[in-house]
């Protein structure tokens, strides 16, 4: 037998063992071993008996899965059937992508062996009687995938309308619901913002989206569009078009890009418009920041609805303007009946603020990122959305430590702000002159210098007010330095010096060489 034949047999043997072992692990998962691992790693969130009520549960939104009902949100079996073992195994292994918005389920495959993970599947399945009598027939039929094209995207858009997806996901897929939704456990659930595929809980590959549209999300209002009994059934082909449509509306300007933490303010000639749709903004590069809830000082806050903000900036010879853009499913207007219907409790105003140090730090030291400190203070430009009885407002708050903030007399500031809410998106402009008379307590902008900046945001329909908000730590804004002539003169001078120097050196060498 040749070497090749031997390798082939070895390969086949390994494949067989591999497949066989997965089958064995899957079918004969060792419940008792699963229990041991569960009690070390899982119960903290999912609870001792798997009821989804561990010590961490009250701080999580969405809440940890309750295993005692046997209902799994992310499954790939046909509508009406229980989840497949592979579905449970997948979530344990890979966790839930898009962990930014409070899904704490991590991927366990780097710390637990494949066998351990199958044992966990066996154990969590044993927490309900459901799996003793029911079994999934297999994975749902994927039909024949339709590759993306303009035509397919348009058809998908039509199907999105026909199946009334917009009723929850909003006209533009931002998840700006016109309904207050609850799941079977009585928890508030938010329709997915389809323009942020990186937050899709069970993956954003076309196959993942197709599966979700087809079988729905059990336990939630998301229906199964492959269900023959459904009034809004979509064919395999239509569902693939929907997949392509959903893929096409992703908004990358809202996605965090690793290492990109500087807002690059662009210089413009002429006036800075206060219009959030002014074409100049297309030239200002977007920088996306993650917003995390304020969990540092009392009173802390754990269940945010907003996960990020995109910042752009423009400046001219006199002023600087920031455009803050963030997806918010609800326009929170205190006093407004529609807003009250959607809100968790009392409606407060939506708001956004940027924080800057009172002066550009000379060295590394900055003010404490939470409202500054006694050594170095901060200025906060705070915009709020107004109510049915009052217009939008802008305040400047000076602070030298938590709780010390004081709103400045409106006569002593020229910060202006204006916001617009449209189809699930807030866009707010905050504008100020580059330099002010009050150089002692107020940041004086200077091109070419890195200036610390932080952002905070409040969703008034989510009980966010005061210390309950989302925020960033320090990032940077840089006013694009004017290139100036040195960009050309310095390299030119270097080239001349090097040519002359080398010629002179060559003359010396020649003399020596001739000797």
């Amino acid at each position: 037998m040749g070497k090749k034949g031997f390798k082939l047999i070895l390969g086949v043997l390994f494949t067989v063992i591999f497949i066989y072992s997965s089958v064995v692990f899957a079918e004969q998962g060792d419940k008792d071993n699963g229990k041991k691992i569960y009690e070390k790693k899982c119960w903290w969130c999912h609870g001792e008996k798997g009821e989804g009520n561990g010590p961490a549960a009250e701080f999580l939104n969405p809440p940890p899965r309750d295993f005692t009902l046997g209902v799994y949100k992310y499954k790939s079996s046909p509508p009406g059937q229980v989840a497949r073992d592979e579905d449970i195994f997948r979530i344990i292994s890979d966790g839930m992508p898009g962990t930014m918005l409070g899904t704490a389920m991590p991927a366990w495959k780097d710390v637990l062996s494949e066998k351990d993970r199958w044992d966990l599947v066996a154990y969590v399945k044993s927490m309900t009687d459901l799996f003793q009598t029911e079994k999934a027939s297999g994975e749902i039929s994927l039909g024949s995938a339709v590759s993306s094209s303009e035509e397919s995207i348009n058809k998908g858009k039509e199907a999105f309308k026909k199946a009334k997806c917009f009723e929850c996901h909003g006209e533009n897929g931002k998840g700006d619901a016109i309904k207050k939704l609850k799941d079977d456990w009585g928890f508030r659930v938010w329709p997915r913002n389809l323009t942020k595929p990186w937050t899709f809980r069970a993956g954003s590959e076309p196959k993942d989206i197709f599966t979700r549209v087809s079988v729905g999300i059990p336990g939630t209002p998301m229906p199964a569009f492959a269900d023959p009994k459904s009034e809004t059934k979509l064919t395999d082909e239509e569902r693939w078009h929907v997949v392509n449509y959903v893929k096409s509306i992703a908004d990358d300007t809202k996605k965090l890009k690793e290492g990109e933490i500087v807002v690059k303010a662009k210089y413009v000639e002429g006036n800075l418009s206060e219009d959030v749709h002014a074409p100049e903004w297309n030239n200002a590069p977007p920088t996306a920041y993650q917003l995390v809830p304020q969990i540092i000082a009392k009173e802390r806050f754990f269940k945010p609805t907003i996960d990020g903000v995109t910042v752009r900036a423009l400046f001219n010879d006199k002023e600087i303007a920031f455009l803050l853009e963030w997806d918010d499913r609800t326009k929170s207007v205190p006093g407004d009946a529609d807003a009250e219907k959607l809100s968790e409790g009392e409606v407060f105003e939506d708001a956004i603020a940027i924080q800057l140090p009172t002066s550009i730090p000379e060295a590394m030291q900055k003010p404490y990122f939470g409202h500054g400190d006694k050594e170095m203070g901060v200025n906060q430009w705070y915009w709020s959305s107004g109510s049915t009885s009052g217009a939008q407002t802008v305040k400047v708050i000076d602070s030298t430590g938590l709780g010390s903030g004081k709103a400045r007399d409106t006569a002593k500031t020229d910060v202006k702000g204006k916001g617009e809410y449209k189809a699930g998106v807030w866009r707010v402009i905050l504008k100020r002159s580059l330099t002010t008379a009050n150089a002692k307590d107020e940041l004086q902008f200077e091109a070419g210098k890195f200036i610390p900046i932080g952002v905070a945001s409040w969703d008034g329909s989510n009980g966010e007010k005061g210390s309950k908000h989302t925020m960033t730590t320090w990032y940077w804004v840089l006013l694009e330095p004017k290139a100036g002539s040195k960009v050309y003169t310095y390299p030119a001078a270097a080239i001349i010096v090097l040519v002359v120097g080398q010629l002179w050196f060559a003359r010396g060498m020649r003399k020596e060489y001739e000797k």
Partner: protein
């Protein structure tokens, strides 16, 4: 010619070690990271590399001569006029390019170095009491009979207060970790709690980010001041849990 090529290759090898080797090693030690050497540090290293290589290759007169020979030939030899012009042009243009790179507007965020585990003070005040960090020990470590129970209670403290940043797996990757800078500590890593005394953790937890000395950049750390939320007992128990779950032992010397 040989010596000159040797010099160029040596410098190139060192450059690649710094540029690719060190990040690769970092990536191997801490999965998913690619820790590049900061540009400023890179310049200092390369200065020493070039100086070192030149010293090594010119340690006696003969080899210094050999190293200089091709240079002398290119600049001096009457037959090599064409090559000379090309070399002069390349070097001049390279100099122009480097200058341009240095004067063109840069949007790269400044690098902020901070001491991750700065030296602790000798004593610290918390809850109005003074603790001597030199002699302080975890009272629950001695209580062998109730160890399991205390560690579990510490775990509950962890999963009510710490895991959103430090992670379900204690790997520093909780669901909010990427929104804070500096990133939360990874307790599984051998470079954190495994290197520290329990009293150090007690100080870091109790006084949080604002309790750091200046070299620790207290203005950036998002670590809360836990004495405002937790009791002394809870902090000691959570410390017990961190070592129990990760399998590390605290440094005792």
């Amino acid at each position: 010619m040989k010596k000159l090529i040797q010099a160029v290759i040596l410098i190139l090898v060192f450059y690649l070690i710094l540029k690719v080797g060190i990040p690769a090693l970092g990536s191997f030690l801490h999965h998913g990271t690619w820790p590049v050497v900061p540009t400023a540090l890179m310049r200092i290293y390369m200065f020493f590399v070039v100086a070192g290589v030149l010293l090594y290759l010119t340690f006696n007169e003969e080899s210094a001569k050999e190293l200089g020979k091709p240079i002398k030939e290119i600049y001096g030899s009457p037959e090599k006029g064409g090559l000379r012009m090309i070399v002069i042009a390349i070097i001049a243009l390279f100099g122009g390019y480097v200058t341009y790179q240095n004067v063109k507007p840069s949007f790269e965020a400044p690098i902020e170095l901070r001491s991750i585990h700065p030296a602790p003070p000798s004593s610290v005040e918390m809850w109005g009491k003074t603790y001597n960090l030199m002699t302080l020990t975890n009272p629950f470590r001695a209580d062998k009979a109730n160890y399991e129970k205390n560690a579990k209670e510490g775990g509950i403290v962890f999963f009510k207060n710490c895991f959103y940043c430090h992670g379900d797996k204690l790997d520093g990757k909780g669901h909010y970790y990427s929104g804070v800078s500096p990133l939360p500590a990874n307790f599984v890593d051998v470079g954190t709690i495994a290197q520290l005394q329990e009293s150090f953790l007690f100080w870091r937890i109790g006084t949080g980010g604002p309790g750091l000395p200046k070299e620790g950049a207290p203005w950036r750390s998002a670590m809360p001041i836990w004495q405002h939320f937790l009791s002394e007992e809870e902090i000691w128990k959570v410390i017990l849990f961190l070592y129990d779950y990760t399998g590390h032992s605290p440094r005792t010397f």
